[in-house]
Amino acid sequence: MTFDQAFFSLVSVMAAPMLEDWSWFPVLAFGVSILKCLLINTYHSTDFEVHRNWLAITHSLPVSKWYFEDTSEWTLDYPPLFAWFEYGLSHIAKYFDKEMLVLQHLNHASPATVLFQRLSVIFTDIVLIYAVRECCKCVQRDRGSKDILGKPSFVLAVLLLWNFGLLIVDHIHFQYNGFLFGVLLLSIARHFQHRHLEGALLFALLLNLKHIYLYIAPAYGIFLLRSYCFTQDNADGSLNWRSFSLSRLVALGIIVCSIFALSFGPFILLGQLPQVLSRLFPFKRGLCHAYWAPNFWALYNVADKLLSVLGVRLNLLDANRLHKASMTGGLVQEFQHSVLPSVSPFVTLVCTLMSLLPALFSIWCRPSGARGFLRCIVICALGSFMFGWHVHEKAILMAILPLSLMAVENKEDARIFLILATTGHYSLFPLLFTAAELPIKILLMLLFTLYSFTSLKMLFRHEGRLISIPEASYLAGLVPLEVFCELVYPWTRWQQPFPFIPLLLTSVYCALGVTYSFINLYLSLLRTEGAVKGKAKGKSQ
C-alpha cells in the first residue's frame, strides 16, 4: 500500500458508511459535539458561576478550607472527588484566563472563561461517548438489520448522545451531567459485561463525584449482594444461601471503601467530616424546589390548593385561618399546606423507601440478570424523583437515560420511555426562560422527540402500535400547553398578579405523565416477574 492510499483509507475510515461496522458512531459523536460547540454563546445559568467559583476555591485555597469557604453564596456542595476534578480543570483554566481563578471575582464571565468552561463540558463528555459505545455493544437483537438507521444500537446511540435533556442542561444551562452520566452508563455496561468489580468501582467513584446518585445506590447494593456475592441460584431461581462467597464480598468492600477513603479520608483526618456532610445535605431547603419538579409533591401541593379553595367555597373552612403564604406556590420554597398535612423530610424519606422496596425485593427474590438490575435502577431513580425531598427537575434524566437502554430492546419499555422522556424533557423547559433560547429549546425538543418516536416505531414496527390514543393525546397536549404558557399567557393581564401559573401548569401536567410512567414501570416489573415465575413453574413441571 502506498502512502497516499494509506492516507485516503485513513480518511475514509472516518468518513465512509460501510456495512456492519461502527463508522457511524464517531460521526454521531462528532456531530453532537459540533452542536454543543454551537451552543457556546447561549445563555448560561447561575450554575456557570457556581462552577467558576469552585474552580477558584479549589485552585486558590488549601484542601482544608474547601468546605469552609463562603465568599460566594455558591459554596462547594459536591463530594470531594468532584472538587478534585475542578482542581484538575483549574490547572488548564489558568491558560485561558487567570482572572476566573480569583475568589473575589464573582460573576466573572469573560469570553475566554465562557469558552473554557463550555469546552470543559464538551471535552469531558468524551466519557459519555465512550460509555455509550460500550452500552451499544450490549444491545441485543442488533443483528439482521442491514439498514444502519434500523439498528437498535444506532437508535440507542442517538437517544443517549443526542439526549435533549443533557444538551440543554449541560450545554446551555451549564452542568457536568454528561460526564457523570458517562460514568454511570459505563458502570451499567460493565455489569452487562459481567465485569462487576469494575462496575462497582465506577459507581463508587460516581457517588463521590455527585451524591445525587445515592438515589440509585439501593439498586446497586442489593444487586451486587444478591447476584455477585451469591454465586448460585436454586433450580427455581430462589436464593441459595450456601453459595455465598466471602471473598467476593471482601473484594467489593475493599474497592468501595478505598474509594470512599480516598475521597473523604483527608477530611476525616482534618476532622471536617460534619462540615462536609452539612454542605452536601442541606436539609434547610424546602419540600419542593423553586420550580416544582413534576413529581408526587407537585400533585400533592395542587390537591391541597384545590381542597382549600373548595373548602372556602363550601364554607367548610375559614379563609382567615388558612396560611397566608400558600398562594405563592411555585415561587417560594417554603410551602405551608392548608388542608392536607404538611410534609417533613422524614416523611419523604419513608415514602421514597416505600416506593423502592417492592422493586428491591423483586431483584432480591428473582434476580433476572443485568436487565432486571437496570429496571431496578430506573425505578429507584424515578421513585426518588417522585417522593424525594427538594428534588430538582433535572433529576428526571437519571431515569430517562438508563431507560433508553431498555427502550430499544422491549416494546413495553419503549412505550414508557416515550411518555417519560417527552414529559420529563418538557418539564425542563422552564430552565431556559430567556427569549433568545426559546427557539433552540423548541427545535431541539422537536428534533429529539420526533427522532425517538419515529425510530422506536420503526424498531417495533412488527409488534403493533406503540402508544395508545389516550397517551398520544396526552402528549400532544404539551403543544397547546407550551403555546399557552410561553406565547399567550405573558401577554394576558394575569401575568402581573399570577406570574407562577405557567410554571404550575407545566409542573402539574408533566407530573401526571411522570406518575403514569412510574406506575407503568412497576406494572412491567410485575409482568416480567410473572413471566419468570411462569417459566420456572414450566421448568419444574
Binding site: 492516507f7 465512509a16 459540533i34 447561549t42 438507521l149 427557539p439 433552540i440
Partner: protein
C-alpha cells in the same frame, strides 16, 4: 424510518444551526457611526415606514442616501416595509425617523434575527422540494443531499450571522430553478423575476435562465409552439416586472433614480478585498489607478461576456436541466470573478447552483462551497463570527464528506472528466486524475485551515497590515479559477449520448 421524518429532522437541524449562529454578533455591532449591514436593514425599515414611496430612493432632508441609502430593488424595500410594520407593533422606537439611527438592544436583535429565520420559508422549502423531486438516487441519498445543502455554512454565516436576507433572493432563484426543472416554465420565470427584483445581483443567474428558456423555445420550433411559449414567458416577465415597479413607473425620473441607485457605476472596479480577478491582479498591477473608470467598466464587461459566452452558447444549443445547472455555476462564477463592483458576499450567488450539483459532483462541490465560505473570512473576522465560522465549516465538511461518501465517489466517471482524461492518456498513460484531485483537495483544505488559523492568531507585520486578507483572497481566487475551469470543462465536454439523458430525467 419514513422519509418524511428524515426530511423533518434535516430541516430541524438546519434551523437549529441557523438560530444558534444568530445568537452571535452581527456586522457593525456597537461600531458607530456607520455600523454595518444590520443597521442598513434597520435603516431601510425606518425609511420605508416613515417616508412616502416617492422619496425612498431620493436624497432628501429626511433621507440621507450617504447613510445606508436604499440601493436594492423594490421588493427588498417592500420587505423592509413589511418588517417595519411588525416592528411598529412591538416597539415603535426601533423605526422612529432619525432618532432610531444606530438603535441596538437585545430585544431588537432578537426581532431582526427572527425576521431572517422567518424569511427562510422562501429558501428551505425550495431546497426540500429540489432534493425530493430533482435530485437522483435513493430517498436516503436525497435526504443526505438536502441536509448538506441546508448546512452550507456560507449562507448561514452571512444571513444569520453577518446579517442579510440572501435567503430570500437565493430562495426565489431556487424556486425559479425548481420551476424550470419541473417544466413549469412560467412559474419559474415568475419566481426568477421576483428574485431579480429582490436583489439586482441575481443578474449573475439571468443568462442561463434566458438561454435555457430560449433554447427550449427554439427546440419546439420558433415558428410554432415555441413562439407561443416564448411570448408567454416574455409576458410573464414583463408583467411581473411592471407589478414590482408599479409605484415607480408613473414618473420616468423615479425609475431612472432607482436604476442609478441599483447600479452605482461610479464606485470603481472593486471594493475591499474580494477574491476576484481584479482585486487579485491589483497585487501586481494597480489597475484602479492606471485605467479610467470608464475603461474599467468596459474591460470588466467584455471580460465577463467572453467568460460566459461558451457556457451560454452550449446551453442554448443543448437546453437540458443538467446543462442549465452547470451554466448557472459557470455564469455566476464568471460574473463574480470578472464583473464590475463585486462584493465578497456575491460568492453566495455562485454557491447556490454549486449546492445543486453536490449530489452529482460531490467532492468538487464540497470543495467549492468550503472555499466560498473561506473567502469571506476577513469579513467574518471583522464581525466577530470566528467561532461559528470554524464550527459550521467543520460541521459541513464532515457531514457532507460522510453522507455523500465524497472520497469514494471520486472517479473519472463521477468527476465527468472522461473525455478530458482520454485526451491526456496518450501523453501520460499512468496519469491518475482522481488521485490528483483528491490530493489537491487535501492540500487546499489544509492551506485554508492554516490561513484561517494564522489570520486569527497572529498579528500582521506593521508594514503589511492587509497581509492576511490579501493572502486569503488570493488563495480563494486561485481555487475559484480552478473551479471555473473545471465546471466549464464538465459543461462543454458533456458527451451527447443517451446515457446522460437518463441521468438528467
Amino acid at each position: 424510518m419514513e422519509n418524511w421524518s428524515l426530511v423533518s429532522l434535516s430541516v430541524l437541524l438546519g434551523l437549529v444551526m441557523r438560530w444558534t449562529v444568530s445568537l452571535n454578533s452581527y456586522s457593525g455591532a456597537t461600531k458607530p457611526p456607520m455600523f454595518g449591514d444590520y443597521e442598513a436593514q434597520r435603516h431601510w425599515q425606518e425609511v420605508t415606514y416613515n417616508l412616502p414611496i416617492q422619496q425612498w430612493y431620493f436624497n432628501t432632508s429626511d433621507n440621507d442616501l450617504n447613510y445606508w441609502g436604499l440601493d436594492y430593488p423594490p421588493l427588498t424595500a417592500y420587505h423592509s416595509l413589511l418588517c417595519a410594520h411588525v416592528a411598529q407593533l412591538i416597539n415603535p422606537e426601533w423605526i422612529e425617523l432619525h432618532k432610531s439611527r444606530g438603535y441596538e438592544s437585545p430585544a431588537h436583535k432578537l426581532f431582526m434575527r427572527a425576521t431572517v429565520i422567518i424569511a427562510d420559508i422562501v429558501y428551505i422549502p425550495a431546497v426540500v422540494l429540489y432534493c425530493l423531486y430533482l435530485s437522483d438516487g435513493s430517498s436516503r441519498r436525497k435526504v443526505a443531499t438536502m441536509l448538506c445543502i441546508l448546512l452550507y455554512p456560507g449562507l448561514i454565516l452571512i444571513d444569520n450571522g453577518h446579517f442579510q436576507y440572501n435567503n430570500v433572493s437565493l430562495g426565489l432563484a431556487l424556486w425559479g430553478v425548481l420551476g424550470l426543472g419541473l417544466g413549469w416554465d412560467l412559474l419559474g420565470s415568475l419566481a426568477f423575476t421576483l428574485a431579480l427584483n429582490y436583489k439586482q445581483m441575481e443578474l449573475y443567474h439571468s443568462l442561463p435562465f434566458f438561454c435555457y428558456l430560449l433554447g427550449k423555445c427554439a427546440r419546439q420550433g420558433l415558428t410554432g409552439k415555441g413562439l407561443i411559449l416564448l411570448v408567454k414567458i416574455a409576458a410573464t416577465v414583463v408583467v411581473s416586472f411592471a407589478v414590482c415597479w408599479l409605484p415607480f413607473l408613473s414618473d420616468s425620473q423615479q425609475s431612472l433614480q432607482v436604476l442609478r441607485r441599483l447600479f452605482p457605476v461610479g464606485r470603481g472596479l472593486f471594493e475591499d478585498k474580494v477574491a476576484n480577478t481584479w482585486c487579485s491582479m491589483n497585487v501586481l498591477v494597480k489597475i484602479k489607478t492606471h485605467l479610467s473608470a470608464e475603461t474599467q467598466l468596459y474591460l470588466s464587461l467584455v471580460a465577463t461576456l467572453l467568460a460566459v459566452l461558451p457556457s451560454s452558447v452550449k446551453l442554448l444549443m443543448k437546453p437540458t436541466f443538467w446543462q442549465f445547472k452547470l451554466a448557472l455555476v459557470n455564469s455566476s462564477l464568471a460574473f463574480f470573478l470578472l464583473s464590475f463592483q463585486v462584493h465578497e458576499k456575491s460568492i453566495l450567488l455562485a454557491a447556490l447552483p454549486v449546492c445543486l450539483l453536490i449530489n452529482e459532483l460531490p467532492l468538487m462541490s464540497i470543495w467549492f462551497l468550503l472555499v466560498s465560505t473561506f473567502s469571506m473570512l476577513p469579513l467574518l473576522l471583522k464581525d466577530g463570527l470566528l467561532l461559528p465560522y470554524v464550527i459550521t465549516s467543520l460541521a459541513f465538511l464532515f457531514t457532507s464528506m460522510y453522507l455523500l461518501s465524497a472520497l469514494e465517489r471520486t472517479t473519472v466517471d463521477i468527476l465527468r472528466i472522461e473525455p478530458y482524461s482520454r485526451l491526456f492518456r496518450p501523453c501520460f498513460p499512468r496519469l491518475n486524475l482522481p488521485l490528483i484531485v483528491k490530493w489537491n483537495f487535501a492540500f487546499f483544505i489544509l492551506t485554508m485551515a492554516g490561513l484561517s488559523f494564522t489570520s486569527m492568531a497572529l498579528d500582521p507585520p506593521a508594514k503589511l497590515p492587509d497581509l492576511f486578507p490579501v493572502l486569503v483572497s488570493l488563495c480563494a481566487y486561485f481555487q475559484f479559477l480552478g473551479c471555473l475551469v473545471y465546471f466549464n470543462i464538465v459543461q462543454l465536454m458533456e458527451p451527447s449520448n443517451k446515457g446522460d439523458q437518463k441521468k438528467i430525467n
